[in-house]
Every structure is written in C-alpha cells, then in structure tokens.
C-alpha cells in the first residue's frame, strides 16, 4: 500500500516550484505486499505495470533490452495477469493514451500540471553546449560545436554521453551509450572508450613519450580535453584500475609497432574490442578492494551499446555497436532537409546482423538464437559492451559469481543463465565503422540512443534540427513594399510565423529542442504543451512504461571550412 499511495500523491499535488524536479525515489524496490495501489479501480493498467515491475525485482532495473526476462518472472509469479496487458508494456505509445484517459476520467479535484517554466527546467536540466573556440575570429575546425542533452526515464538514467577533443592527434570524439541491466557498463564505457580510441590513434613516438613520462613519474601529456556537463561524472575510485589497463594497452601497441600510419577505422575497431576485453578480464581477475571488485563485476554483468563519431576535417567515422544511431542532416539545394543514416542498428530488424549471428553458431541453434526479436530471446541489441552472460562460458560465469561478493551471489539476474546457451560467445562489442567524407551540404550529425529513434522518424529529426539550426534565422523579414496588404492579412501572416518560431525560440539547445518534439509531439507533428507536461510529470515508476531514456548529441558542421577542404582537394 505504501508504494501505491505514494505514487498517487505525487500525481495529484498542485504544481509548485518545489516539484519541478522529478521526485527522487528511494532505491528500495516495492515489496510484494506494497503493490496494490489504492484507487485500483481507476488505474487497472497502472496496477499491472506496478506488478510487472515487482516481478522484475531480480533484474534490478527494469529495462526494455531485457524485459523479456522480467515478463518471464512476472508471468510465473502472477498467473492471473492476462497476457495481453503485458504486451501493452512493449508498446509504450499506445499505452500512453489509455493512461491519459484514465487520468481524465478520474475526478480527482487537483490535477498535476507542469507550467511551461517547470517543463523547461526539466528539459533543460541536462543540456550542454560546446562551441569550438575561435582564434582570430576564425574557426578552422570542421565542427562549429555541439549541443547535447539527456532526458531520463529510468532512475537512475542508464544512458551516458561523452564528448572530447583529441589533443595529441586531430579530431573530435562524440558518443552516446545506452546501458541495460544497470548503468555500470555504460558509465565505464563512457569514461574509458575515448582513451582507448585516442591511444589507438597515437603515433608511435607519442606513445613512447607518454610511456616514458609515466615510467619516470613526469607529467603526462594530456590526451583528451573533455566537454562534460556537470552531471556527467567520472568514477574516482576506479581511475587507477582503468589507467593500468589502458597503460597495458599502449605498452602492447608500442611493442607491436607496425610502423604504419594509424588507420582510423582500425583504431576504432581495436579500441572497442580491447576495452570490452579489458572489462571482461578485470571482472575475471577481480580486485582486492571489495568496492572495486563489486564495481568491475557490475560493469561486466551489465551491458551498453555505443555509437561514436570521430570527426577530423572532412573525414567522419562512425563506429557503432548496438542499436543507437548516427544520422547526418543534409540540406538539399532547395533548402529542404533529408537524413542519411551513418550506422546500422544491430538488432533483429537488421537482416545482415541476424545472418551474421547465425553464421557464428552451429546450425542446430538457428531456431533458439533469435526469439521474439531478441538474442537468445532476451537481449535486444545484437552487439554490446559488457553482458558477459552472453559471452562467457557457463563454467566461467558460475565460478565468477560464486567467488564474487554476496551482492552478486544473491542477485537472481546474475545467476540466471540464458536458455539454449551452448556455444558462447553470442555477443561481441566489435563495431561496424562507416566512413563518410563531409560535403558542404552536410550540416549536422545527430547521435542518439534508441529512446529518440523509437518515437521519431529520422526524416522528422532531420527537418526539426535543420529548421532549428537555420530556419529561424533565415526566415525572411516581411516587407510590404508596394503591395496591397490589409491589416487583417498581415496579422494572419504574422500569427502563422510566430507559431512556427515560438516553439524553436524556447530552446537554446538543438538537442533539447529535439527532445521537446520527441516527447511532446502530437499527431500533427507540433509540440503540445499539455502532452509534454503530462509525459514529464509521470512518476518515475511509470515513466519507463511510456518512453525510454533519451540521449542526443547534435554536432553542427562548419560548411565554410568543409567547402574550403573540398576546394583544396579539387
């Protein structure tokens, strides 16, 4: 009863400044007996959500990537729950309408509405912008800057983002990471991956220099300059461990010295694979420090996708593992916007990917490999960091879990072995790399986790961002000139223009603007404040039912510089 009444209260309170932030809930999961919501007749569907959530206790964090697992649990525990309603869980958007109606009919005297200011403060809480600094009034980089933002649905959010400028080589790195079964893996990847990439790109001499510096205790050359939002943190405790792994990596690179110039594609693939390998090894070896030991295990047992862009001049490389996506916004000659995919989703919808998985395992497993559009019937992304449950042999998993700390041992999820688990590994972190030569018409790049792509079509994304970045500023001023215009006509014209602009002007950040559309778009493709307000005021237990974590980075390109590069090459 406790949990239910608490959720109820949160939905009914009057809006007020203190409630701008999404209420933080204690990490303790509701007990079974807590699960019956008070006004059960009003919220039949919500009750079921709650129940299924409790069913997922073992999973710790209820996430779509693994939600089959949770439904499995829920099913076994609550046989009376009709199958259909669980199905609704997997289609958040449809479900949403039911929920709203349920709210509308409820005759609660007070209603929870967020004011536009409150909505903005939620949307803007995590926004970050970076503008590439200009020298002598000139920006010689092909990147003008980027906007990024996150909107959590899980608590804590399982998405991560990173952005950094390479200091010892040229170029800029940007990435989004969508974690599942917790945020530990996504966190670790967001902290570590760019170092692995940067090191992979470094020339032999620089590597030697760095190694010498470490050896002699001298100051290290900075490798990356991070562009972080204050909420993007690095774990202090593990930095030593991470550093040692990284150092081992560059020492091996020094030993391997091939003498060839580093190919970006190779570097990206190597870095991805190496990091995943290190995550796996660290978990197997363990750490004498119990906190670190638990941390490396959590990292290895959770998982994360990664979609990383490396921009250097006109060379754009996208390395993608999993189902986040990179999309290029292209402005056609007529000024309209089109989208070009720069990554392939690694999931069941990608036939090549299904084919690849099937090729890697014996024919006998063909049927059990992909079930209900999931790997082994469980995992949505077909490639990921971490997730050692899909990589290690059964023996290894058992050994590590048993020798591991109690928290791990008591956890149902870690103990659970995927069904039909015969020929591991089933999962890889190896990215697919796509190279693209930037053209002046390529105006921006959007990196986003699937939270965005499942609510919006890429064509709409391209249009909204494109109009945001240029449309407003380029809207032609009206001049009456010698034409015959009446006051009424002019008023109508201006009202129309204002409506178009107003939604754009609220945001100073393209990523925020995109999230506003993703969450608040109505059937006409325009932002509906009421809908936005309702979506954002969902209690966090429910938020996850209607949307996923959304993380977006919008990189804006410098067409002048790209044009100049192009001319040089001609």
């Amino acid at each position: 009863m406790l949990a239910a009444s608490c959720c109820d209260r949160r939905m009914c309170v009057c809006p007020g400044p203190r409630r701008i932030a999404i209420p933080v809930r204690s990490s303790r999961l509701p007990l079974l007996s807590d699960a019956m919501p008070a006004p059960a007749h009003l919220f039949p569907l919500i009750r079921n959500c709650e129940i299924s959530r409790i069913g997922s206790t073992a999973c710790y964090c209820h996430h779509k990537h693994l939600c089959c697992l949770s439904s499995h649990f829920a099913h076994s525990h609550f046989r009376y729950a009709p199958q259909k309603k669980f199905a609704a869980l997997y289609r958040p958007k449809e479900h949403f309408n039911h929920f709203i109606h349920a709210r509308d009919y409820a005759s609660t005297p007070q209603r929870f509405y967020l004011t536009p200011a409150q909505v903005n403060s939620i949307l803007k809480a995590n926004e970050y912008s970076f503008k590439v600094p200009e020298f002598d009034g000139k920006n010689v980089s092909s990147v003008l800057g980027f906007d990024s933002n996150q909107l959590p649905a899980n608590a804590p959010i399982e998405d991560r983002r990173s952005a950094a400028t390479c200091l010892q080589t040229r170029g800029m790195l940007l990435g989004v990471f969508d974690g599942h079964a917790g945020c530990a893996c996504a966190q670790a990847v967001s902290e570590r991956l760019f170092y692995y990439i940067a090191v992979s790109l470094l020339p032999h001499e620089t590597l030697l220099e760095i190694e010498n510096a470490v050896e002699n205790g001298r100051a290290l050359l900075p490798i990356l300059q991070w562009h972080k939002h204050p909420n993007d943190y690095f774990s202090k405790e593990a930095s030593k461990l991470y550093f040692n792994s990284l150092r081992t990596y560059w020492q091996e690179l020094i030993d391997l010295n091939s003498g060839e110039t580093t190919d970006v594609r190779e570097a990206l693939i190597n870095a991805f694979k190496r990091l995943d390998n290190d995550i796996s090894l660290e978990a197997q070896v363990g750490d004498p420090n119990s906190f670190l030991n638990y941390l490396v295990l959590r990292v290895a047992f959770s998982g994360s996708t990664a979609c990383v862009a490396h921009v250097d001049g006109v060379d754009l490389h996208i390395a993608n593992t999993g189902d986040s996506r990179a999309m290029l916004g292209v402005q056609e000659e007529d000024g309209s916007w089109s989208a070009v995919n720069l990554s392939y989703d690694h999931n069941a919808q990608n036939e090549n990917e299904v084919e690849r998985v099937k090729m890697e395992h014996p024919k006998s497993e063909e049927k059990s490999l992909v079930k209900q559009d999931r790997l082994l019937g469980l995992l949505m992304p077909f490639r990921a960091f971490g997730d050692v449950k899909f990589k290690w042999s059964i023996e290894l998993q058992k050994r590590v879990v048993e020798s591991g700390p109690d928290q791990l041992n008591d956890n149902e999820y870690t103990k659970f072995i995927p069904p039909n688990y015969h020929t591991p590994p089933y999962l890889t972190a190896e990215p697919e790399v796509i190279h693209h030569k930037l053209r002046p018409q390529d105006k921006f790049l959007v990196l986003a986790t699937d939270g965005l792509w499942e609510t919006m079509h890429r064509q709409d994304v391209a249009r909204i961002v494109g109009e945001y970045l240029t449309g407003v500023h380029h809207q032609q001023p009206i001049a009456v000139g010698g034409y015959k215009v009446t006051l009424g006509q002019m008023h109508g014209l201006l009202t129309e223009r204002r409506a178009k602009i107003s939604s754009v002007f609220e945001d100073q950040n393209a990523a925020t603007h995109l999230i506003r559309h993703a969450v608040g778009n109505n059937e006409f493709g325009t932002v509906d404040h009421e809908r936005l307000s309702k979506m954002l005021s969902l209690p966090e237990e429910l938020a996850r039912m209607y949307r996923d974590d959304i993380t977006i980075i919008v990189v804006q390109f410098n067409s002048h510089v790209i044009g100049a590069y192009q001319n040089e090459e001609l």
């Binding site: 001023p477 009456v480 015959k484 215009v485 009446t486 006051l487 009424g488 014209l493 201006l494």
Partner: protein
C-alpha cells in the same frame, strides 16, 4: 517620398527668414551644397540640434532677450526623431513637472501658427486613455485628480461614452477611460520649423549641415565649439542632439555624461478608410494593449511600446543610419494584434507603411535637462523618452530660463542632469536599462517601483550577508539598499503580483521592523549616503562653509549640525548633517542621489584655494545605523565606553573602537528621531563590526531592518526629505526648520536675505503633516505622493510623501499648504492659524479622505524621556 507625407512642410509658403539667409536658391536634392553664409566667429549661445528641442530652446532664449544665438544642425532642421514623431501632444502624464511641460507645450503650439504663419497642423482632437483593468483605472484617476486641480479639463468616462466619442472602438473589455478634450495633434516637423522661423525672426542664426565635432572646455567652463566649418567661441553651449547627445557629450577632452540610449520604435500608417476618418477623431491610448492610435490623413497612425524593445546604436552610429532602419513586422506583430482587438473594423484597411523611428530613452524614463556638473555653461536637453513633442515646448522654456536666470521657474530636480553620474553612463548599463524603460512607458506605474536591470552596481561590503538574511533590495543612484528583510519561511508575492495601489504584502514585515526600532534595537545599512570631507590648512574651510550653510558651523569639535546649503532664493540645494571633526575639517553627510549635485554646488561655490580640500569619501565608509532604545547598551558593551546621554549626548561625534576595530566614527544621530547611533566604519572593518554588533545585540533583541521601516519612522516624525519633500524652491522657513537657521551667526550666508524677509513677512507655503482620519488601511487605496490637498473644499497644495505610521495606526501624508486668494488665485501668506483653522481632505484617485493637519510632530510618539534637544532632533531630515 514618405517623409514628406508626415510633415507637409510649407517651406516656400512661409518664406522663413533663416532660409534666405542660409541659401537663397535651395534645391530639394540632398547633395552637398555650398554654405553661402559663413559661421560667426563667436556667439553667446550655441545650440546643437535642430529638432523640436533645439528649436524650442532657441525660440525661448531669443524670446527672453538673448540676441547672439547660433543653432547648428548636422543635417536638415527637424530631420531626426522629430520628423518621424507621431505628433501627439498629451498631458496625460503621471508626474507633475512633466504634466506642466506638456500643458505649456500644448498652449504654445496652439498659437504658434498665428504667431509665425507656418502651418503646424495643430488640431485639438482630445485623447482617450483606456483602462482594461481596475488597477489601470486607478492610475488614470490619480492622473485625473492632479489634472483637475491644475485646471486642465479631464474626465473619467464610462466605456459607453468612449464609444460615443470614438465609434471604431471595441469597448467590451474596458472598465473605464480618461478623456482629455484639450489634447492635440500636430505635425511635429512643422512645429519645429515654426519655432525655428520665429527664433530666426528674433535674430537666431540657423546653420544646417553643420556638425559639431566637439566642445572646448577650459578651467571647467565652456569656451567654444569646434565644427566641421570652423570654430565658434561661445559662453553657453546647449546639447540638444537627441540620440547623438551621448556621443557629443563624450567627444570632447572632458566628457559630459548624458545617459541616453536609442531604441527602435515602430508605428503603422494606413491608407484612408473607405469613409475617411475625421481629422478631429480623438487619439486613443490603450496602455494595457501597449498601443496608441491617432487619425492620420483619413486613415490611422498606430504605434506602441512593446515588451521586448530593440535597443540600437549601442556602439554609436552616424546620423545617416536613422533614415535606413528596416521595418520589422514580426516585431510589430503583437502590437498589430492589440490594434485589431481594439478596432476590429480595421481588418480590411490597407497598410501604407511601417515606420521605424528610433527614440532615445533615459535610465529612469524622465528627460534630462540642466547644466553639466563638470563644465559650466554646458547645458543639456535630451532623452525625451518618446514624448519630445509633448514636452518640447515646456522643456525648452525651462532650459532657457535656466540659462538666462540661473534657474528655471519650476523645480526640475527630477529632470536634472546632475541626478546621474558617470556610473549611469556605461553603454551596457544603458542598453539593458532602456530595454526595461521602454516597456515601462505603458506598464502600470505603482508605488515603490524598482528597476530590475542594471542592478548590483554599487553595494555595501555587507551585501552578501544581508542578502542571505532575506534582504529585499531597491536601488538609489546605483547603490543597493535594503527595503526590508523577509523572515525565513515567509514568502512574498512575485514581482508582478506584488504590484498594487492598496496595502502591500510587506506590510506586516515592515511593521515588525518598526516595532523593533521602537522597543529594542535595529541595524540598517546606510552606506549609500554621500559623504564628503572638507578640510583646510587654516580657517578657510570654516569660513567658506559658514557662507554656504544656513546653520552655525562654528561649534565645538565633535558636534554634529543639521543644516543645508541654500541658493540665493533661500531654497534648499542640499540638505545634510555636518560633523566638525577638528578645528579645520568637516565631515558632511548628504542624501545618496546628491553625490553629483552637491559636489558640483560645492565646487562652484568654494573659493579656488589650493589650501582648501574637498574630498568625496563615500566609498571609504560603511554606515551602520543602530536605531532603538537598546542601541546604547549594544554600543557600550562593544566599546567599553559609557554611551549614555550624559557621556554621549545627542548630535555628538567621536572616533572610538567597536569590537577589535578602531577609528570608528560614531555619531549620535539616527535619521529617524528614535534614539540611536550611526557608525561610520572604514570599509575593511565593516564585516567585523557588523558581526560584533549582531552578536552582542542578540541579547537585546537586535534585528536587521530596511529603508521602508526607516521611511515610516521618519514620516510619522514629520521629517522632510530632500528631493522628495524639499527642493530648491523650499526654504527652511517654509518647512518648519527655522531653528536650523542662524540668521544672527555673525556672518552673511547664501540665501540669508530671503530668509530674513520671510521671517518678517511670513511664508507663502507651509510644510504640513496630515493624518488620514477615515482611511481604512486594509480596504482603501494607499496614498503615495502628489495627491491634491483640499482645505475647506478648496485646493491648497499637494502631498510630497506618505507612509503608514505603525505607531499612530494611521496613514501620514506630508505636503505643502498654500493660501490662494479666493478671487484672484494670488498666493497669500500662510499663517499658523490658517493651517490650524481648516478642514482638510486628501484626494486619492478621486476619493477624498478627511485629514488632520499638524505643524509639529506628535510629542507623545517619543517613548524616551524628553531631551533638551528634542526640537533639534525632530527637525532632522533624512531619506
């Protein structure tokens, strides 16, 4: 060309003399033409700027007998803002000095055509100010009250009546309106040309296409003007350069700071209606819709003051750009919406043009006139806040009087250039501030309004400490001062909702601060006050001060004297307390906004003697005012010195230690009449002393207080405040401060003659205190200032300030009572009997409240035992 449309200028018909003088055969092209008449080598007055303001100053100067006047215009006459001006002459102004200027302008323009033969397009259409809300109606009623007592016809009318006067208006959302039948429309450019014509006939030389590059100043006096056509030597220079006034002020070696900044201002012109609008249709002002609408050549002209103004020329620009400003329909959209809501019938009306006309604005929405504090003979008249036509005539007259007579015929301190200093001259400040000022034109003007931009410029070292304790701030001369302290857990309304003409939300908060001042002890940070030190090697300081001040300053060292500097007419130029620090040095404390004015007055009147040093030490000291009966205890515990009246009498000053800090200047004055002290603390000790005082004071119930509490205290004690109650037209005799004047101090002082004369013959106005009798503090409108006072049903004067007295539990208004002859209206001597034998009423927005008049404060208010110097104390004046 459109520009001609607005101002069908009757160039040739009028054949003005100056035209023939400058060029006998002028073509209409704007290409460079030779200047056949060369500039004179010298003149008495050079006026820069040929707009409405410059021509008005020239007109009035020449009328007042000045002969040797040159007017320079960089382009053509009336070519700047004046040409684009909407041409509305309206007296609907909330403040009395502006109202008088507008009233005079209206009368002047009306007879101008007859006087000069130049068609001015003057048309008495009247104007209607609409109210969409009750609060707006209250503000209109307040204006109506003050217009009525000035004899300007004015009427509060119902929406139905509005419809009768103006058939196009949608009245469904109106609650009332104010009708001013005398308001008029003119062609502003033609008015300007008419003024120029008249001036030229009176001998003013007008030179067009002549730019002033800079003004030369030697030894603090204007000596001449450098132009692109040569130099003119002159005695007086008048900067009427409008938007370019700031730049012109900064062009010379010694800058003259004129804080004006331009904003784009848009208005719409339409083609005629199918049934052309009559040229006598009243002008509509719809402040809630932020627009004005006037008839224009059968169609309409409508503009407004939007919420998001576009400042421009922040970096300074050349004059030609004014011609090429773009129309911005998107920006005008909301105003167009408001127009169509107000006059839905205009939907089908065809647009002719959207005019973009930059207007210059000032930091406080009031125009700037007067003499530069640093350069004598350098006069300024600029920053009209888009009311140039309404004010132009009156403002020009006042400035001309100022130049000719040394002072205008009315108190213009609220418009005086010296109310600003260099600190308001930052372009960033101006840019931000004018963006707040321009929308304010049509915002509801409620009592106790504070600007929100350009804040936190000057602060006390205790700012953060006080802020953390819930201080709410207001600003004076750039200095942040505490209004009151909001106790923890006590939420006040947000800014927009706290706007009211009734009882404000801080009422109880200030009440408890006042109570603490009366019963225990409060601390008020009063660091903003202007502080000067005057010292000399010999007796020069005492001698010069004795001449400048009305009170006797030859007091024993360590004494404090309340006094003021008077002008030749005996009026207060300054009001201050002076402590004699030693035989040869004095410490002078004046109101905050006197920093520039007082400095200039002293500089101009002190003898040029290198042994006499005047120093501004405002920034050196933090001032803490300890008010209340327990202040004595707190201070004596902190200093281990007896502070009782026997050891430390009232009006006494001593350097002593407080806590660890030594050299704290302690004065037994409080600015309120309550017992207490002011501590002048060198700023590095400020935090220490504050902490000590607060710690020690705890057991005596000490708390922070703000200026609102101070105000309530000083007004219930009948203390006048310079700038509000006192001005250059008020003598000590008229405000009951005869005891602060020592006519027999053995030497002559400035203003003495007038005071002697008044002592013998009596005064023509008398500062009086009114206690509102039948006023319900919770339900009735609160008085503010400027409310008419009625004696036996007849108008006798206006209030100058008011406050709620928590002790009397009544409102107290202060104001001046005149004695107008019932038949002739002539001013008669005001006697004590005249004051005492009358039934008084105060008019608050049309509603009259009975009031009891008093010439002396309530002695029963003093809870302390009577002091010998009580009379002295009670006359003390403060902010």
């Amino acid at each position: 060309m459109f520009l001609r449309l607005l101002s069908d200028i009757q160039w040739r018909a009028a054949h003005p003399k100056w035209r023939r003088m400058t060029s006998s055969q002028r073509s209409t092209s704007t290409t460079a033409e030779p200047h056949p008449v060369s500039l004179p080598a010298q003149a008495q007055v050079v006026i820069c700027g040929g707009g409405i303001i410059g021509t008005s100053v020239a007109y009035h100067l020449s009328k007042m007998g000045f002969k040797d006047i040159v007017l320079l215009e960089q382009g053509r006459l009336a070519a700047g803002t004046t040409r684009f001006c909407a041409g509305i002459v309206s007296t609907a102004r909330p403040v009395s000095i502006e109202l008088k200027m507008a009233h005079y302008s209206n009368k002047l323009y009306q007879q101008l055509e007859q006087e000069t033969g130049v068609q001015t397009g003057y048309m008495k259409t009247g104007s209607i100010s609409l109210a969409q809300t009750q609060d707006r109606l209250i503000s209109l009623k307040r204006i109506a009250s003050s217009l009525n007592v000035m004899g300007i016809p004015c009427e509060i009318i119902s929406p139905k009546k509005v419809l009768q006067l103006h058939p196009l208006i949608n009245i469904h959302d109106l609650v009332g309106a104010m009708y001013l039948p005398e308001d008029a429309l003119v062609s502003s450019a033609n008015v300007s040309l008419a003024l120029a014509t008249a001036a030229s006939r009176n001998g003013v030389q007008i030179h067009e296409r002549t730019s002033v590059s800079h003004v030369t100043i030697q030894k603090g006096r204007v000596t001449g003007v450098e132009t692109d056509r040569g130099r003119i030597q002159c005695e007086y220079f008048v900067n009427c350069a409008g938007q370019w006034a700031y730049e012109l002020g900064h062009s010379g070696e010694e800058p003259v700071h004129i804080p004006v900044h331009a904003c784009e201002h848009f208005y719409l012109l339409t083609h005629p209606l199918q049934e052309p609008v009559s040229s006598s249709l009243p002008t509509i002002v719809d402040p809630d819709g932020r627009i004005y609408i006037r008839n224009w050549q059968g169609g309409i002209l409508s503009g407004g003051f939007e919420k998001n103004p576009k400042p421009l020329f922040t970096e300074g620009r050349n004059q030609l750009e004014i011609q090429n400003l773009q129309e911005d329909w998107d920006h005008f959209g909301p105003l167009l919406g408001a127009l169509l809501r107000r006059m839905p019938g205009l939907e089908a009306l065809q647009i002719m043009q959207l005019v973009n006309c930059p207007e210059s604005f000032t930091p406080d929405m009031r125009c700037i006139m007067g003499e530069s504090p640093t350069a004598r003979g350098y006069f300024v008249l600029a920053g009209m806040n888009s009311a140039g036509i309404s004010y132009g005539g009156g403002a020009g007259k006042y400035l001309a009087e100022w130049i000719v007579n040394g002072y205008p015929s009315e108190n213009v301190w609220p418009l005086d250039l010296k109310r600003f200093g260099t600190l308001q001259s930052s372009r960033t400040f101006l840019r931000h501030r004018v963006m707040e000022v321009m929308p304010l034109m049509y915002d509801l003007k409620v009592p106790r309004w504070d600007f929100q931009t350009g804040r936190q410029l000057r602060t006390s070292p205790l700012y953060d400490r006080l802020d953390a304790q819930g201080a709410r701030w207001m600003e004076k001369h750039g200095f942040e001062r505490v209004k009151y302290f909001v106790p923890p857990g006590n939420d006040l309304l947000d800014l927009d909702h706290s706007k009211t003409f009734y009882k404000p939300d801080w009422f109880d908060i200030v009440g408890s601060e006042v109570k603490c001042c009366k019963e225990a002890v409060c601390v008020i940070d009063m660091s903003s006050f202007t502080k000067f030190e005057i010292s000399s090697t010999g007796d020069q300081a005492l001698e010069s001060l004795q001449y400048l001040f009305a009170n006797d300053l030859d007091v024993p060292v360590g004494h404090v004297v309340h006094t003021g500097m008077l002008n030749e007419n005996g009026g207060y130029e300054n009001d201050c307390s002076i402590a004699r620090l030693s035989k040869r040095s004095f410490f002078m404390i004046s109101p905050t906004d006197q920093q520039v004015h007082c400095w200039a007055w002293l500089k101009n009147h002190l003898p040029d003697d290198s042994n006499l040093v005047l120093e501004d030490v405002t920034w050196k000291y933090t001032a803490l005012n300890l008010i209340g009966p327990r202040a004595v205890d707190v201070l004596s515990e902190l200093s281990y010195a007896p502070m009782t009246a026997e050891h430390f009498p009232s009006l006494f000053c001593k350097e002593m230690s407080v806590g660890y800090a030594n050299g704290i200047r302690v004065m037994s004055i409080t600015h309120t009449g309550e017992p207490g002290f002011v501590l002048y603390i060198p700023i590095e000790y400020a935090l220490h002393v504050y902490n000590e005082v607060m710690n020690m004071g705890q057991k005596y119930g000490i708390r922070n207080a703000g200026y609102y509490a101070l105000r309530s205290l000083r007004i219930e004690k009948f203390f006048a405040f310079w700038g509000q109650d006192l001005d250059a037209f008020t003598t000590p005799m008229e405000c009951g401060r005869e005891f602060q004047v020592k006519l027999d101090k053995g030497m002559e002082f400035l203003g003495q003659e007038v005071l002697l004369e008044q002592k013998q013959n009596g005064v023509y106005k008398r500062f009086t205190m009114f206690i509102l009798e039948d006023h319900d503090t919770d339900m009735d409108l609160w008085p503010w200032w400027g409310e008419p006072i009625f004696r036996n049903g007849r108008y006798v004067g206006k209030t100058t300030s008011s406050a709620y007295s928590y002790t009397l539990e009544r409102h107290v208004c202060l104001g001046f009572v005149h004695h107008f002859d019932e038949k002739t209206g002539e001013k008669l001597v005001v006697t004590t009997d005249f004051i005492n034998q009358g039934e008084y009423e105060i008019d608050i927005a049309g509603q009259r409240f009975q009031a009891k008049a008093k010439l002396y404060p309530f002695s029963s208010l003093f809870t302390q035992r009577r002091r010998k110097d009580e009379v002295e104390l009670s006359g003390y004046q403060r902010e």
